[in-house]
Symmetry: C2
Subunit: 574 residues, 2 copies
Amino acid sequence: MLQLSKFPFKTLKTLPKVSDNRSTSLLLQGGYIRQAMSGAYEFLPMGHRVIQKISEVIREEMDLAWYHEMKMTILTPKEFWEKTGRWDIEDYFKVPGHGGSEYRIAPTNEENVTPIMNEFINSYKDLPTCVYHIQKKFRNEKRAKSWLLRGREFLMKDAYSFHADMENFQEFYEDVKKVYLKIYERLWLWADTVIADADGGAISDQNSHEFQTFLDIGEDIIVTDSWGYCYNLELASGIADDKNIDEAEKDLEYMDTVEDIVNMKKMTAYFEAPDWQMLKTVIYRLTSPNLSWKERDNMDKIKYIWVSLRGDLDISEVKLRQFVQSKYGNQSLSLATEDDLASIWTVRGFISPIKDAGLDVVFYGDDSLKTVKNFFWGANALAKSTKNLNIRDLDIEEYHNFAEPKEWFTSLNIAGEKLQFRKASEVGNIFHLWTKYTKPFWVSYLDADNTMQDQVEMWCYGIWVSRLMGVMAEYFMTEKGINWPDWIAPYDYVVIVIWEQNLEKSIQIGQELESNWQSVILDDRMGRKDGFWQKIWDAELWGIPNKIIISPKTLDQGWYELQIRWEETKIVKL
Amino acid sequence: MLQLSKFPFKTLKTLPKVSDNRSTSLLLQGGYIRQAMSGAYEFLPMGHRVIQKISEVIREEMDLAWYHEMKMTILTPKEFWEKTGRWDIEDYFKVPGHGGSEYRIAPTNEENVTPIMNEFINSYKDLPTCVYHIQKKFRNEKRAKSWLLRGREFLMKDAYSFHADMENFQEFYEDVKKVYLKIYERLWLWADTVIADADGGAISDQNSHEFQTFLDIGEDIIVTDSWGYCYNLELASGIADDKNIDEAEKDLEYMDTVEDIVNMKKMTAYFEAPDWQMLKTVIYRLTSPNLSWKERDNMDKIKYIWVSLRGDLDISEVKLRQFVQSKYGNQSLSLATEDDLASIWTVRGFISPIKDAGLDVVFYGDDSLKTVKNFFWGANALAKSTKNLNIRDLDIEEYHNFAEPKEWFTSLNIAGEKLQFRKASEVGNIFHLWTKYTKPFWVSYLDADNTMQDQVEMWCYGIWVSRLMGVMAEYFMTEKGINWPDWIAPYDYVVIVIWEQNLEKSIQIGQELESNWQSVILDDRMGRKDGFWQKIWDAELWGIPNKIIISPKTLDQGWYELQIRWEETKIVKL
């Protein structure tokens, strides 16, 4: 039983101001956390109990599902990361050792888990299998902000599963999803947590999902419709409104303009037309570092892609990247430079998707082009423009949804319904890693026919435990404190002792609760500064769900007051 | 319930060879651990359970004693370490961040805990207080060896206490000692774990103790006698044997010798006398970086100390350092250079503790000088020596026990009893940190008279959790596996299923055990490779204390076999 008179971690009398969010102020005021440096936080006893309890919920649900807990290292050798080509990622720390050696403090553990499991995966009978650990991770963030939501040091549960083929994954994935949803349910977040389709970065694909909890201070934007559509903004699509679509197509005109109409503002002013009537075209260069010679041959023909869309919209590079990956495999995408543009006979500000004979480029168009007639734009030469440009004039190879949706876009699923945009914070994710890690570490197995197979698919499953604590603090905060779920609150009961003369009896009541597996704080602080209300405030700050108030008057009459959260005060007879 | 048929972490058929120790081979064979790199180890599920259980024992005992658990950061800012002058310690990692920033992954957490507690220590009522955490630590070891016994990454429980004065510490310390001894008792190590007086390095003192478990592969040597004397070798003292002590003292003679008798071997050959009859003298220079001007004035007079001892013995620099600290306060000690020697009118190989008038040096003598008559040695000039040197001729200021004891030394406490030397491994320690950390972080409090006090004494208490696991593996290993203590073994019960037809019944038996809070492995592996004996061997390797053997024959008769460790096999009726 925690006796507060012996507990040095006092709450603060006033709410400290931090720029990011009010829940962080409450966590500081309640003595849950303290900043060691920007991006790294000390968990004081109250905060430590909360994060341990969140971890415990995760652990229990993972264990029930037969995933095996272990503990991988934080310090990892450079060789692991070189093997997978991830040594030089800027946001991962490098740690110099003696004699020129270098290590990494792990930001994620694919490079540990794959060689470990390689030792133990021998037969098809060993697959699928899933292991996990809960451990601190490190990212070399340029700017660490939002406190627990994004740190340089953070606690994460990361699980990794290995599969003989994609077929048996779907079933497995449904199980993981159930485990995750059960976790968010037990954390009382289920009503506002959604599964969004997400981009897993260059290493992942459409089998990647994020668990997002709606939160005003969230870093992500989730786009939904009432049909059940749920995507991270960077991947979301919708339908742009029709503009002058009923207008007749006029004849294409080439015209001399001026050199400096190289941005949207100048162009709309010059042409005296709205931005949506401009035919914006962006050129990307594809580079492919790891191609075979044969693949490289094919690639040489398609070095540049031109993407056109309405002038009032922007390209979602994440969607574009996925599109390119599906068409051309693993590619790096970069904006074309001035030299690139010159080499393909065009010039910035006057790019137009009209093909010159003999030029090896590909044109793609955003679906939004179909909502406008008679576009204005350049003619691939300085101060040369076009007018009344229409789809009929363009050499578009394929139309696709490249634009980042705007709040006035409508749903792809329910005609005319506006998309919903909500801020959210990522609390978990599932990424398909394909064979990106299993191949470099030579993971293989003998199949049922005793044939060696080296196609081992890998998935990873993350839950940001320390972020979850930050999300929960924000989600459950009230005017007075943080209303943690019953099993997450640092203690089950607080016993508030008003007069010292009742201390002995109060200890006895606390001990009885403890013998029934309840955790108890005894607020036995006496003195002017620690009056009844201070005790109540601190109990609220800590979100203790059950308060017992011991007063000599009621005790004399043989009862005490029990305040259970959200219930009316009860009288408990001794 | 762990079903081994679904568990990928198979044991190895043969014992892998590692140079250090056999218990590590067993840990590898049993799938407890795996090396990620030299000095950093993956804890696979079995090893993870063991280390978690050891941590849990520590946590329970610490909590019972009212120490408050928290979790400090691993990443720490450079400023913390600069404040205490520890930034440039070679064995601590420095981690470069963006824009020239540098962090440290913490090897210990004084630099975190002191500013934290500074926020919460305001009044004498807040003292004493003690906080702890169990977390991974990092050391930039040049060579990581001995596996779990000494890693670059290791798990440690570190506690820190703060005290208003030294007086109330003794009582507090006795409590900590009890907690520690209880922990080693629960880990079944008590019979071979001793408390040794130890050196806490430059920052600590005689209030420092190590908990050492006797172990043949231990890195330390512990010196004991039957009276209860128990010291780390580097601090131990004893009595050197008397040599020619009954010889008459002859007249001191100066003589011309040769230039090259500058080591013990050459000298004994030249003088044709045993090494113990040489009067070895070593000169140290004291430097004191942080003295006040007044203190510096006094120090200028005593820049060099000369320490003499028998030629067959060596100085324990740790003891010398403590002696110097007690005489002169905090000093750096270094061997005098050739230039130093010239400045004080002597020369290497011919140093003799005979004072020249006007020379400001101090002579100290080891007690062993009293066991020999008629020493040989130099005369503070090249190729000049002395013969029949006796205590009467020396200007020794004070005699003290500076020599590192040899195995033939006798006890200081029991006349004539030989000292015992035993190898041991440090499993815990208690260091007095004085005000080394509280001063730079300005920790202060208001005393009972409302006066500000800035003398806050600090102690730290470590338990190397991952080393403890290595020590226990070595300590409890048998021919077949590791006989962990009951509550440390990865599981309480193994249920061995011999025939698949009994699987359902076996699961039921396992579940019944689980509902009684027992943890259970069900060994349901079938097939040629996983016969009865493999199952028994694996159970031994994992040190599971209770084995249930399910065979169709006994089950038909309504019973099964229960093998409780160290007991006769029992028959349990269904």
